[in-house]
């Protein structure tokens, strides 16, 4: 088990800056996630830690030791690849035993370990299977068992759930988390899926265009985003550039909202579930009259798109029995937004 320290990491490919001024400390036993859109630099960062990409500058420490000059094979960093990279010409057993044979362990010890880890990922009895006979979920488990068997200081997971179907993804991520938590391995998980990141992580680093924009717990990232990109990337949000006059924020010429005292920023953000929706006129500040333009049900939420003047508001309501009965497309509705749910953020 080890902590990971990344100090001033820079990496560019030609003119493209893949990682710029990355400074992150990952604690021992922590489940840490690099979250961001495609091409944001998160996988490059992971490959720098694994030793497959050399940074242009900066320091990488694992267990308080600099690993900059240690080749990939000596870093004791387990990597689960996006496409699993299981050796197709070996059986499940041989794949899991691979690192143990390299260490020249005794056959009995290898056997015990392989069986332990296969049991851990619920694949006992699959030892003799060849890789092409396995389903996507089973391949994913073998890849995890193979990396765990080497007992790495740090486990790196490069979007390992992205090739699975939605339902399997949810069950696999719970299973993966419980195994990793039980073993208390420091884990760095790369994903572009914010739901996955929020569900699994102790802490998250949000990346965009090679920069780390915010580091925090899932609760901090979701509820207290430090800038407009993080707010928009993590979860649904209403986001508008605003002109501020005291506590008045002008979204358009005709839509103005009252914001908390002392707020400042270029963008106004409101989560859809923080907007109340009424069918009758309401009294007070921050009441907007609009028309339902679109509606769909996601299961847990009713989601509405409401046209207010020439701006579009996304509004969510929890789906409870009878909660959507009274609202139809083209209905006139009144939105109530209390100032405390409004956030003003820099770009």
């Amino acid at each position: 088990m080890g902590n990971v320290t990344l100090r001033d990491i820079y990496k560019s490919f030609g003119k493209v800056e893949a990682c710029s001024a990355i400074n992150i400390n990952i604690n021992t036993g922590e489940f840490f996630t690099f979250l961001g859109p495609s091409g944001c630099g998160k996988t490059t960062m992971l490959r720098i830690i694994a030793g497959f990409v050399e940074p242009d500058s900066g320091h990488i420490e694992i267990s308080d030791q600099s690993v900059n000059h240690i080749p990939a094979e000596n870093r004791k960093v387990g990597l689960v690849f996006q496409n699993y990279a299981l050796f197709p010409f070996m059986t499940v057993y041989e794949n899991v035993a691979y690192s143990l044979k390299i260490k020249k362990m005794a056959i009995d010890a290898i056997d015990t370990k392989v069986k332990t880890y296969l049991e851990m990922v619920k694949l006992s009895g699959y030892e003799k299977r060849i890789i092409s006979e396995l389903s996507g979920g089973e391949q994913q488990r073998v890849a995890l068992a193979r990396s765990l068997a080497m007992e790495p200081s740090v486990l790196l997971l490069d979007e390992p759930l992205s090739n699975l179907d939605a339902k399997l993804r949810v069950s696999m991520r719970q299973e993966m988390k419980s195994i990793i938590k039980k073993l208390r391995i420091t884990t760095i998980f790369v994903t572009h899926d914010q739901t996955e990141a929020l569900a699994l992580s102790d802490r998250i680093a949000v990346f965009n265009k090679g920069k780390c924009l915010q580091i925090g717990t899932p609760e901090e990232i979701y509820n207290r985003p430090s800038n407009a990109f993080v707010a928009e990337f993590v979860g649904e949000i209403n986001l508008w550039p605003v002109r501020l006059e005291g506590i008045k924020a002008h979204i358009t010429d005709r839509i103005t909202l009252e914001v908390p005292h002392g707020s400042s920023g270029d963008y106004l953000c409101i989560r859809p579930q923080d907007i109340e929706i009424h069918t009758t006129p309401q009294s007070g500040n921050n009441i907007l009259e609009g028309t339902i333009l679109n509606y769909h049900l996601t299961g847990l939420f009713h989601q509405y798109e409401i046209a207010v003047d020439n701006a579009l508001f996304k509004v969510s309501r929890i789906n409870t029995v009878g909660s959507s009965d009274s609202l139809l497309i083209d209905d006139k509705v009144y939105l109530a937004i209390t100032p405390k749910v409004i956030k003003l953020l820099p770009q």
């Binding site: 694994a50 030793g51 497959f52 080749p71 990939a72 094979e73 000596n74 870093r75 004791k76 960093v77 387990g78 990597l79 690849f81 496409n83 699993y84 990279a85 299981l86 050796f87 197709p88 010409f89 691979y98 690192s99 390299i102 260490k103 890789i131 092409s132 391949q139 193979r146 990396s147 080497m150």
Partner: protein, 556 residues
């Protein structure tokens, strides 16, 4: 230091490639433009003034085009018959239909002569059965050559179109039918565009082998003269400058056609946007259609197997016994005993095996680093290396033979200041040049299967470079290496065209021994050489097919 090593390594590789491929071609061009030790275009002007010469050139082009046409029709129809429609014993028919690709062309020509020639078994049987005064057909000239070409080369179309059919996207076909397309419209608008890349790729291969064909035109061509045969005549009469000029002209013509087809191939490339649904072969509903499909395939399989059976049976014909009768009557093991007991008769078989082994090893030695550079490196010279290793593919065998003679009949830096013409090694070198593109293409496929993530996965699990090489890289690319090695071996062991140009007393190969035996009326011995080649080629080819499943292995 590391950089210096790479430069030295690439330098040696380029030196080998330039010395064996570019320098010989350049020398041929130089020789073709030399008369009385001066730069001159007289050979070209003389050639182009003569209508008989122009007719020969025209014959070669016609042969190339007709070969594509006939092979295209036969190969594509068969691919549809076997793979587009459901049928029993599909795998069995598929294997039989692939058989001709494994057999050296020369053997097929001889088997056909024994079957369909003037005194062939089939020709004479028809004559007797129908009580004819004349033989029903003459197996020679353009028709004869085309018959042999269709038999030996439809397989390229059959193979590529079959793979194309298997990769058809069922959902696209269903979408088209859903929108009201008839069967013909589906064929025209969906199937044909899907299969066009396969058809063009096959057209290129068959055109190149059609225009460069030598065995069939030289043995049964008769008055239908083509350039390859003319080149050998020029060389035999010691008009090397004329032979060189003919090689240059033939190369220009084949390169022009290749260029046109390649341009077309580039235009029709497509990529599916999403992963398609697996193609399901269609069911033939009417019993009469099913029977027709079955009967056609059975007859064709019989026709395919007939020459092979002819060779195998022919190898047991007692020496001197089958001279005037229509059907052979005396059989014995004498031919085999002669080959394996008499060193003079065994020598060609041994020579061919040794030379094919040398050629296979040489192609592997040059092909492996070339393929690694082409597929896995960012070296600046990678484009040049790819161009050089693929260049022989555009050269007819007779051109390669003339090029090697021109290059190595004088001492040069590429031949270590030696003269190689007349030596044992010249023929294996020519085999090597001709087979290098096949080796590199096979290795490239293997190298492609070597996904970089496997190497990274191995390293992240703690493996050092040597361990990764032994346990990950070798298992992935070894089927490719073995397949490439065997393909080159099969191609070289029965090679005839270059052998006819380059063999010497010290390295007379089996193909030349076969032709000589025929001219000495020792048909049994010729057939026995053929049978040995068929056995070796079929066994090794089956091993290659087993080793490298068609369509490639799926990884993870």
């Amino acid at each position: 230091m590391k950089k210096l090593k790479s430069i030295a390594f690439i330098g040696i590789l380029l030196w080998c490639l330039i010395g064996t491929i570019l320098f010989p071609a350049f020398r041929t061009l130089q020789v073709s433009m030399t008369a009385e030790q001066r730069l001159s275009l007289i050979h070209y002007t003389d050639f182009l003034k003569n209508t008989i010469n122009l007719e020969t050139l025209f014959h070669s082009v016609t042969l190339g085009i007709l070969t594509v046409l006939f092979c295209g029709i036969v190969g594509t129809s068969l691919a549809f018959l076997v793979h587009y429609y459901e049928m029993p014993y599909q795998k069995f028919f598929d294997k039989i239909l692939l058989l001709p690709i494994m057999l050296p062309g020369l053997i097929i020509v001889f088997a056909f002569v024994q079957l369909y020639g003037e005194s062939g078994i089939i020709t004479q049987s028809i004559k007797i059965l129908l009580n004819l005064n004349e033989i029903p057909f003459r197996f020679k000239g353009l028709a004869g050559i085309l018959f042999v070409h269709t038999y030996t080369q439809y397989v390229y179309f059959y193979l590529n179109v079959s793979i194309g059919i298997r990769h058809l996207d069922q959902s696209v076909i269903e979408a088209s039918r859903n929108m009201g397309a008839s069967k013909w419209v589906v064929f025209k608008t969906i199937l044909l565009p899907f299969l066009k890349p396969a058809l063009i790729a096959s057209s290129i291969v068959t055109f190149m082998s059609g225009i460069g064909s030598f065995s069939a035109p030289s043995i049964i061509g008769g008055s239908y003269r083509v350039m390859t045969v003319q080149i050998l005549m020029s060389k035999a009469n010691n008009y090397m400058s004329v032979a060189a000029m003919q090689v240059v002209l033939l190369s220009i013509v084949s390169l022009s056609f290749l260029w046109v087809l390649k341009q077309y191939e580039k235009r029709i490339q497509y990529q599916s946007s999403v992963r398609g649904a697996l193609f399901k072969p269609l069911k033939l509903k009417k019993a009469s259609h099913k029977w027709l499909q079955y009967i056609i395939l059975c007859v064709l399989c019989l026709l395919i197997l007939l020459p092979v059976v002819m060779i195998l049976v022919g190898s047991f014909i007692s020496p001197g016994s089958w001279m005037v009768e229509i059907f052979p009557s005396k059989f014995s093991w004498d031919n085999y005993v002669k080959i394996f007991m008499k060193s003079r008769a065994f020598a060609p078989f041994k020579n061919s095996i040794i030379m094919a082994l040398i050629a296979s090893l040489m192609t592997l030695l040059i092909g492996l680093p070339s393929s690694a550079i082409i597929e896995k490196s960012n070296y600046r010279s990678k484009g040049l290396i790819e161009f050089l290793v693929m260049l022989p593919w555009t050269m007819p065998s007779s051109a390669i033979a003339i090029n090697t003679i021109n290059a190595y009949n004088k001492a040069s830096v590429f031949s270590f200041n030696q003269i190689w013409v007349g030596s044992y090694m010249l023929l294996p070198i020519a085999y090597f040049i001709s087979a290098l593109p096949i080796m590199v293409r096979t290795l490239n496929v293997a190298m492609n299967g070597l996904n970089d993530t496997y190497i990274e996965a191995s390293r992240s699990l703690g493996a050092k470079k040597l361990w990764t090489f032994r346990h990950v890289i070798v298992p992935i690319i070894s089927p490719g290496i073995i397949a490439g090695f065997l393909l080159v071996f099969i191609r070289s062991i029965g090679e005839y065209t270059m052998s006819a140009f380059l063999y010497t007393v010290s390295n007379k190969p089996i193909s030349i021994a076969m032709v000589n035996s025929i001219f000495e009326y020792d048909i049994g011995l010729a057939m026995t050489y053929g049978a040995l080649l068929v056995i070796v080629s079929t066994l090794l080819s089956s091993f290659v097919y087993w080793l490298v499943p068609q369509g490639g292995k799926t990884n993870a």
